[in-house]
């Protein structure tokens, strides 16, 4: 049974090796000449005001977390959608319950005004 997962394992191994290889060789062999003007933060051509990494309001973080949350939800749809036929009614109800739970969370976030910006 494990046999038919071999191609996926080979695919994952090759892709990670290739990616790591490209980055490492680029890092090792590539010429690095950091001049102060080149490494200065880019602010559309002007002298940057204040440091490059500045304090960001918390709302950006809030939006990011909400996005990740519902993105993971979509990730769970994928394997379900593949075997959707075999699961039949049970699978449908199960996924429906999963969606409703997350929907409650979504409505709560909406009412608390997490999606509004100001």
């Amino acid at each position: 049974m494990l046999q038919d997962y071999l191609p996926i394992a080979v695919l994952i191994a090759l892709s990670t090796i290739f990616a790591v290889l490209v980055v490492v060789i680029g890092h090792l062999l590539g010429p690095k000449r950091p001049t102060p003007r080149k490494t200065a933060p880019y602010e559309s051509g002007m002298k940057p005001i204040g440091p490059g990494t500045r304090r960001m309001p918390v709302r950006f973080y809030l939006i990011a977390v909400l996005f990740i949350l519902f993105d993971i939800e979509v990730v769970f749809f994928l394997p379900w959608a593949v075997v959707f036929r075999q699961l039949g009614l049970f699978g449908l109800i199960e996924m429906f319950v999963f969606i409703v739970i997350l929907l409650v969370g979504y409505v709560y976030a909406w009412k608390k005004g997490a999606l509004e910006w100001d």
Partner: protein, 160 residues
């Protein structure tokens, strides 16, 4: 690249590598979205559907200098813009080239007065000058083709 410095010139191996690297640099050169004045409209015309710069590997006009290899100075550079242009040139990664498009960028053109830098080569080293006021899109493409020839003839040591 660092490899050539260590191995020195190895005849067939390095020249073919050099050709491959120059070929890839020439044919995937991303210009920086840097339109100043009237030539920028002709540059947009060259980028758009009729003259289509993407046939030469210039599909994207990257706004940020970090991801662009070619700076097309399209338009007249005023005294107030000169330090900005120099800073943008410095912030571009190493294999970078400059095409000075139009007479105003190449030599001050119609404006010989206090406000215009008389030729961008006072600020940044220019590879190809494209004449015209504004140059037709075909003239810009011809300038870019000459730049491709120049890049294909470059040695790797220049950017190593």
């Amino acid at each position: 690249m660092g490899l050539e410095q260590k191995l020195g010139n190895m005849g067939i191996v390095t020249t073919t590598l050099e050709n491959v690297v120059n070929w890839s640099r020439a044919n995937a050169m991303w210009p920086m979205l840097f339109g100043l004045a009237c030539c920028a409209i002709e540059m947009m015309g060259a980028q758009a559907s009729n003259y289509d710069l993407s046939r030469f590997g210039m599909e994207l006009m990257r706004p940020s200098p970090r991801q662009s290899d070619l700076m097309i100075v399209a338009g007249r550079v005023s005294r107030k813009m000169a330090p900005v242009l120099r800073r943008l040139y410095d912030q571009m990664p190493a294999p970078k080239w400059v095409v000075s498009m139009g007479d105003c960028a190449s030599c001050g053109g119609v404006y010989n007065n206090y406000a215009i830098v008389q030729g961008v080569d006072e600020i940044v080293p220019v590879d190809v000058y494209v004449a015209g006021c504004p140059p037709r899109p075909e003239a810009l493409i011809h300038g870019i083709m000459t730049l491709h020839e120049k890049v294909k003839a470059e040695k790797l040591k220049e950017w190593a």
